[in-house]
Structures are given as structure tokens and as C-alpha cells.
């Protein structure tokens, strides 16, 4: 299991034990954590699972694919540490990961 902390826009923190193999998005959605919509269910088609990865973890979550990069380019309020959480597979190495959620996914 990997402990992932999801921090809402209003500062509320939710810590979830996520099974390796799921994505960071699935860890949130399946546990009813608000703030990640994931309309397409993880197909990298909608950019509604946008998160800001804690800078300390940025190297560990891996690289963006060209498709993700391109989708993010057109999402709202994108920062250097923006990622689509459906494209981050959870591994034991991500135990302790912190992600912050944007105010809105649309």
C-alpha cells in the first residue's frame, strides 16, 4: 500500500491507502475524495483529474506522455507541477505522496 495525501483547495486533507496498480486518480475517486472528477475514467481524454504534485515528489511520479502534456496545456490554472492524476500509476515508491487539488476541474 502507498499512503497518499490529497489536499483540497480549502486545505482539507484526506489520507488514503492506495493499492499499487491503481492510479492516483482511482485512489481518490474510489474513496469518494472530492475534487477529482475524472469524467473519462482514466482514458486521458478529459483533463478533469488535474492535480498539483508536491514539488518534493515531482521526480518520483514519472514523466508526462505527449498526450498528457498536450491535454494539460489546455486545462485551467496549470502550473509547473501539474499532472493528470489518471496518468500516475501508484507504486510502493509513492508511499507518502502529497497532491493538491485545484479549485475546479472545469
Amino acid at each position: 500500500m502507498a499512503k497518499i495525501t490529497y489536499i483540497q483547495f480549502d486545505g482539507t486533507e484526506t489520507v488514503i491507502d492506495v493499492k499499487p496498480g491503481l492510479s492516483v486518480m482511482e485512489g481518490a475517486v474510489k474513496n469518494n475524495v472530492r475534487g477529482i472528477d475524472a469524467d473519462c475514467g482514466g482514458a486521458c481524454a478529459c483533463a478533469t483529474c488535474h492535480v498539483f504534485v508536491d514539488p518534493a515528489w515531482l521526480d518520483k511520479v514519472g514523466q508526462k506522455s505527449a498526450m498528457e502534456e498536450s491535454m494539460l496545456d489546455f486545462a485551467e490554472n496549470v502550473e509547473e507541477n501539474s499532472r493528470l492524476s489518471c496518468q500516475i500509476p501508484v507504486t510502493e515508491a509513492l508511499d507518502g505522496l502529497i497532491v493538491r487539488l485545484p479549485e475546479s476541474q472545469h
Partner: protein
């Protein structure tokens, strides 16, 4: 008339019903929520059934919208394997197939749609399958593999996705389509030809303009598809993907207005203030097109779940959406925004041969819809332009060297 203590009964446990139940709790609804579904499992995602799931890249856990335990923890009374058989609106009561009945303050019809079964001889043979539910997908998966012959009846999105997954699993695939081109009901010729070529290059065979008249069988199992010209296309399994019909009988029989779907307003509410309808079963207004229609997509199910959840809990309605959908085939990602109503001009941006292009559908100088292949900027900016109704500079749009941000500026 919102009441956070109201007993909400949701008929249907698909993407729309399951999302609504969770949203109601997120929005602070405290009353009892009952959700009745005719399948044995909690709400799950249907799109992967023809793609990742069929190819064995996703399991039941990842298919589920939320784990079964969620419903108990959220105090949602989920009743699997039960159907609603009669709606008695005057008594605000719904009768279920297990003989029980549920009284409601608010009823939400989220019964979805069902695959059209072809009324032709042999359609009841084993191995003649449709693809709507996880059980359908399970049956199909068992029939597809190396060396197997798979016949796909219907060259729409489901058919093409099954064809792509079938090839990935090593099956021989032939697609039989009644029209003279693929995707005839839902896309224009540029896309039809692109998909035909892409699939052919990956070994899929096509019979276009082919009318299927029946299925042949051996020992009760399908062995071939019979065409009107007398030919028989041999197969080990046949998947029929020729469209769906809405499950609107429960509403219609209770006297609610239907029009190939349950008629609702912008809040997803029917003419009966206690009854809503959401998802594939709803015939709903779409203000950006100034008309009402029924959509079959996950984003539509999510949007209407939001509309109903807001109305039920007394929140302001969500801002109007631009409908969209997607399809994955091989390494292609097709993203579609909007619907091509009243279109008088088509602009193709990029070269289809490059595997990365977009087809824009315009009415005058306004964008009605876009179909983008491996082209997220075209999809994302196109979606925005459909929503804000800005006049489009067609010369810029047609020129891939002008960025989509500049086109939309």
C-alpha cells in the same frame, strides 16, 4: 422544494445512477438513498468493456466506479439484481421485481438503454452477442482469441472498438455494415474513410453495404452470418452493435411524456416534480443547439447526475456543458465535442494520413462540433469555441501552422 432528508430512490445502477448516489452524499444529502439495479454488481464503467477490459488490461476492481463497501459506508441502500416493474406516481411508490415496493419523496429514473437485438433467424444462437453489460463482455471475452473468427455486425463506435480489441487478442475480424460507409450515423466521410483504412491496415476485413439476414448455427452455436446476397461469413462468434433503445417503458407506462427517452427539463426533472430522469434514458434540452435530444455517453450521464443532485439538494444548477465523448482504437484517441446539427461546412485541419487531424463542423461561422484524432489541442479549444459561440476564422482554422490558441483568441 429541496429537502435534505427526502428519501431518494434511484432506479438503475449504471454510471448515471451510481454517480448521482455519490454526489448526493457529497452535497450533504442526509435522507435515505435507495438504488436499485438489475445487474448483480455495483455501478461500473462501461466504456472499458469494449477496450481495456476486453483486452484483459483492466479487472473488475478497476471497472467498478466505487467498491461495494462504499455504498454501505455512505448509507446508500444498494439493491442489486432487482428491476422496477411498475411506477405508481399517485402513491409515490415503485414496485420491484422481487415483489417488494419502495415509497419515495424523489424518484430518479436512470434505467439506461439496451442493445437492439436483430429480429432475424438465428439471433438466439449461442455466440451471437451484444455488448452492453459486464456479463456481455465476459461472454464475448470467452469467444475471442488467437485463430478465432469474430464477425462484428454494425460499423459504429462499439463495433470498431470491438474489432480493434479482437485484433489485439489475435482474432480474425470481419465487420459487416449495412450502410456503404462506417460510422454513417455519427461521423462524416473523412472519418469513415480514415477508420476503414486504419483498421484494414491492421487486418480487419470489411463488408460494406452488407445486409445481414440471419445467423447459421451448428449444435445451437453460431457458425456464420448470412448476407442478403446469399453469402455466408463464417465465424466463431458474432457481436451485434447496431444501436440501443432507451429503457423508458417504466416512465411511459406511468403516464410521463417520452420521445424515444423520458422528457426532462434543464434540471433533469420530468413534468412530475417528484420524478427525474438522467443518463442514456433521458431526452433533454441542450441550449447551445436550441433543441432537445437524447445522448449516449458517460459525460452526459455525469452531467445529468450533477443536474439532478443540484436540484434535489437545492444547489445552483451546473453551468451548461458542451457535450463530448471519446473512443479508443489501437493507438488512436478520438475525442468528439458537440453534435453536428445544421452543419453547412466542414473544415479538416491536418492530414489524416499523418494519424493526427481534426474535422470541424460549422454552421455559418459558428462551430457545432469537432472530431479530433490524436489532437488534444483541437479537441480542447474546439470544445471551448462550441460553448462560447465565437465566430470562427475558417482560414486560420484550416491552417495547422496557426496554433489552436490563436484560432480561439
Amino acid at each position: 422544494m429541496s429537502d435534505l432528508n427526502a428519501h431518494v430512490v434511484i432506479i438503475g445502477a449504471g454510471h448515471a445512477g451510481g454517480t448521482l448516489a455519490a454526489l448526493l452524499r457529497q452535497y450533504g444529502h442526509t435522507g435515505l438513498i435507495s438504488m436499485v439495479g438489475d445487474e448483480p454488481i455495483p455501478p461500473y464503467q462501461r466504456p472499458p468493456l469494449s477496450k481495456a477490459w476486453l483486452k484483459g488490461e483492466a479487472d473488475a476492481d478497476s471497472l467498478a466506479l466505487r467498491p461495494l463497501a462504499f455504498y454501505g459506508e455512505a448509507n446508500i441502500d444498494f439493491r442489486p439484481s432487482v428491476r422496477a416493474v411498475k411506477l405508481e406516481r399517485s402513491a409515490r411508490k415503485v414496485h420491484l421485481s422481487d415483489g417488494s415496493e419502495l415509497s419515495y419523496d424523489v424518484l430518479v429514473i436512470a434505467t439506461g438503454a439496451r442493445a437492439i437485438a436483430l429480429p432475424i433467424p438465428g439471433a438466439d444462437l449461442k455466440g451471437v452477442l451484444s455488448l452492453r453489460t459486464a456479463a456481455d463482455a465476459e461472454a464475448l471475452k470467452a469467444q475471442v482469441g488467437p485463430g478465432k473468427q469474430l464477425a462484428v455486425v454494425g460499423g459504429g463506435y462499439i463495433g470498431l472498438e470491438v474489432a480493434a480489441s479482437g485484433r489485439a487478442l489475435g482474432a480474425e475480424v470481419v465487420v459487416l455494415e449495412r450502410e456503404t460507409r462506417l460510422l454513417a450515423r455519427v461521423a462524416n466521410e473523412v472519418l469513415s474513410e480514415f477508420f476503414r483504412d486504419y483498421h484494414q491496415q491492421r487486418g480487419v476485413k470489411f463488408e460494406l453495404g452488407a445486409s445481414v439476414t440471419g445467423f447459421e448455427g451448428v449444435d445451437g452455436h453460431v457458425s456464420g452470418v448470412k448476407l442478403a446476397d446469399g453469402r455466408i461469413v463464417p465465424c466463431d462468434a458474432a457481436v451485434v452493435g447496431v444501436g440501443v433503445i432507451p429503457n423508458d417503458e417504466l416512465a411511459a407506462d406511468s403516464g410521463l411524456e417520452t420521445a424515444r427517452g423520458v422528457v426532462v427539463d434543464l434540471e433533469a426533472r420530468t413534468a412530475d416534480p417528484h420524478v427525474f430522469a438522467i443518463g442514456d434514458v433521458a431526452h433533454r434540452p441542450m441550449p447551445i443547439y436550441g433543441r432537445m435530444f437524447r445522448m449516449e455517453s458517460v459525460p452526459n450521464a455525469l452531467e445529468q447526475a450533477k443536474q439532478a443532485a443540484c436540484a434535489i439538494t437545492g444547489r445552483p444548477a451546473p453551468t451548461g456543458e458542451v457535450p463530448w465523448q471519446w473512443s479508443d482504437q489501437y493507438d488512436l484517441k478520438l475525442q468528439i465535442a458537440g453534435y453536428a446539427f445544421d452543419v453547412d461546412e466542414i473544415v479538416v485541419r491536418g492530414d489524416p494520413a499523418s494519424g493526427k487531424f481534426a474535422v470541424f463542423h460549422l454552421k455559418g461561422d459558428q462551430l457545432q462540433s469537432v472530431e479530433a484524432i490524436n489532437a488534444p489541442p483541437e479537441f480542447m479549444m474546439g470544445r471551448q469555441l462550441i460553448g462560447n459561440r465565437k465566430p470562427i476564422d475558417k482560414a486560420k482554422l484550416a491552417d495547422p501552422t496557426v496554433s489552436m490558441k490563436e484560432v480561439a483568441a
